[in-house]
């Protein structure tokens, strides 16, 4: 895995929502093709902001983001979708007044011709969604919405999938399901970068983790190493499973 080429490279990012207020103060990350990366850190560390800045949703003031050898710093989200990045926001991640089918159609908006074949492929990963394809997404439960959101992001067959706290607000059962599914998606060859509150569960499934603190990437190591790291245990994992 370590010989795989670098697919996403973020270098020394400074970014924030409001002019003059930086939330990221020098974040860097290197992701290799096919990796499953977990980003953990305390509340307010800038995890979500980091992910959003990669996806062009938060303006980057300095630093660069590369996708392969293309510079994608501050490229518009819809353009990034075309270039093979998918993004699943933490909240409001479905179109509530559209049906499940229409939600997925929006996912394949830029490739309408491939919609049918993609829908069949995604249907195998999420059979429940095929059953509910004519139901309005707004009437689905949190777990089902999360499925719609992931399926929507996969419709364009992305090379890289960004997940913003996919387990947030779900029951423990559903959380497990989400992590298993994320792993499955990753095994199909999609590089996954996920931000998680549930640090332990996240580190268990990911190849490598990044620890963010106060807007900077504090350190990185393999998921297993971070799980055993005394500092990480103390700060983010508590003592439960130590």
């Amino acid at each position: 895995m370590n010989d795989a080429p670098v697919i996403v490279h973020a270098d020394d990012l400074y970014a924030g929502y409001l002019p003059g207020v930086d939330i990221l103060n020098g974040c860097s990350m290197e992701v290799k093709e096919g990796e499953l990366i977990g980003i953990i850190g305390p509340n307010g560390a800038g995890k979500s902001t980091f992910l959003k800045s990669l996806f062009g949703l938060v303006p980057i003031r300095s630093g660069t983001v590369m996708l392969g050898d293309e510079d994608i710093t501050n490229v518009r989200a819809d353009e990034l979708v075309k270039r093979g990045i998918g993004f699943v926001p933490q909240t409001n991640n479905v179109f509530p007044s559209l049906t499940v089918l229409e939600n997925l159609e929006m996912g394949a908006y830029q490739r309408p011709k491939s919609f049918r074949s993609q829908f069949e492929r995604i249907g195998e990963l999420f059979p429940k969604l095929v059953e509910r394809k004519d139901q309005r997404a707004g009437s689905l439960s949190g777990g089902e919405r999360q499925m719609v959101a992931m399926a929507r992001a996969l419709m364009m067959d992305p090379k890289v999938l960004l997940l913003d706290e996919p387990s947030a607000g779900l029951s423990p059962d559903r959380q497990d399901e989400t992590f298993v599914r994320t792993r499955e998606i990753n095994r199909t060859g999609v590089t996954v970068i996920m931000v998680e509150q549930n640090a332990r569960r996240c580190l268990q499934i990911c190849d490598r983790g990044y620890v963010l603190d106060q807007g900077t990437t504090a350190y990185t190591a393999s998921g297993q190493e971070l799980l055993k790291d005394p500092k990480v245990i103390e700060l983010y994992l508590g003592t439960l499973g130590a």
């Binding site: 991640n93 007044s97 229409e102 929006m106």
Partner: protein
């Protein structure tokens, strides 16, 4: 639990409404000023109909006065007649306000300048169709165009739609890009509304302008009568509204428009070019407002520079009543408002008819805060 409370509130509201209606009817029977003002208004309007500067409310009444005076010599029933008038007015109002709803849905903006788009449609048509010499602002040359009504209307609609493109390209889109808050944008729209209102008055004058000199022949349907032009207007508005529904439900761009209404940042994250969709919405909204304005001007016999400004509150009421941002909500809300406005003139003074519409808005919102078609979203 909530349902039971809703029903209790609804019941109370209905009782209030019925008691109020009964009181007014009773007062009317006793010859109180409320009823007198109603008959006065009708008489007044008939006199004023020839007066070119008569206000819209008066001209409205003139139309209804027609309906009222024809009663008796034909078999028209005034309740049915007012219901039909209400449906007609509702459909035209829907046409004018569906764009307001689309813009609100996709951008979150309550566009106070939407009324002026309605006026613009009517008066640009007048500009092309009138036999009088006309001129363009800042160019001191007078000329006569005098086209027939239909090409004039089409040209007006095209220009109005172009004004939508222009506004979004040079005003709203830059404001959104600079992340100007929605309240600030709304204030800008109020300013734009006043500027456009004065501009239109300066260009076309304050008089009520007639789009056509021909007199509408009324067709007798037994219980009610409808003008021939009005029938055409109804047909056109049904076609336009059907077209909007088809666009939103059956086309890919239409579904993307609904997606942007639901969640613009997610739409963008799905690969939809939100700005492109919003630009299209502005063009459609202003074009439809112009169609609404033209048809309303034909329905009311004439239009003045402030026709849209007078309608704005009703349009907002219709859109809010139907469910903010719901395109079909605008249709339902407009029909309710249209019927309420016209039917209320049977019992209440004509001067009160817009107040009735807004009263209904308040009542509905007390019972169903999300509007008639608005959906309460499940959380979590």
């Amino acid at each position: 639990m909530t349902n039971r409370i809703d029903r209790r509130v609804l019941l109370r509201a209905l009782i209030v409404l019925v008691v109020a209606a009964a009181a007014v009817t009773l007062l009317g029977a006793l010859g109180s000023p409320a009823a007198a003002s109603s008959t006065d208004a009708v008489a007044h309007a008939t006199v004023a109909a020839g007066d070119a500067t008569a206000g819209i409310a008066q001209a409205d009444t003139a139309v209804h006065a027609d309906a009222v005076t024809t009663e008796g010599d034909s078999g028209t029933n005034r309740y049915v007649q007012q219901l039909v008038n209400g449906i007609v007015f509702g459909l035209l109002l829907a046409l004018a306000s569906v764009g307001l709803s689309l813009i609100y849905g996709t951008t979150g903006l309550s566009n106070f300048a939407h009324g002026e788009q309605v006026s613009l449609g009517a008066l640009l048509t007048f500009f092309f169709t009138t036999q009088q010499p006309v001129s363009v602002p800042f160019i001191p040359v007078e000329f006569t165009i005098g086209w027939p009504l239909i090409p004039s209307a089409l040209a007006a609609i095209a220009l109005a739609a172009g004004s939508g493109w222009l506004q979004d390209r040079f005003l709203w889109s830059p404001l959104r890009r600079r992340r100007v808050s929605i309240v600030q944008q709304m204030i800008v729209s109020i300013g734009l509304s006043l500027a456009l209102l004065n501009f239109i008055q300066w260009w076309f004058g304050a008089e009520r302008q007639r789009l056509t000199t021909s007199i509408d022949t009324r067709i007798d349907f037994g219980l009610f009568q409808v003008g021939q032009t009005t029938l055409w207007s109804v047909l056109i508005s049904l076609l336009c509204l059907g077209g909007v529904a088809f666009f939103l439900l059956k086309t890919r761009t239409g579904r993307a428009t609904r997606a942007v209404s639901d969640n613009p940042s997610l739409a963008s994250a799905s690969g939809i070019r939100v700005e492109k969709v919003v630009r299209l919405v502005w063009i459609m909204a202003t074009g439809l407002a112009a169609v609404g304005g033209i048809l309303l001007a034909l329905y009311d016999n004439a239009a003045a520079f402030d026709v849209g400004a007078r309608l704005l509150l009703l349009m907002f009421a219709a859109v809010t009543l139907g469910g903010l941002g719901q395109a079909f909500g605008a249709l339902v809300g407009s029909l309710v408002i249209g019927i309420a406005v016209e039917m209320s003139t049977l019992w209440l003074g004509t001067d009160l008819k817009y107040a009735v519409a807004l009263g209904i808005l308040i009542l509905v919102l007390l019972v169903r805060p999300q509007g008639i078609l608005g959906r309460a979203e499940r959380v979590g």
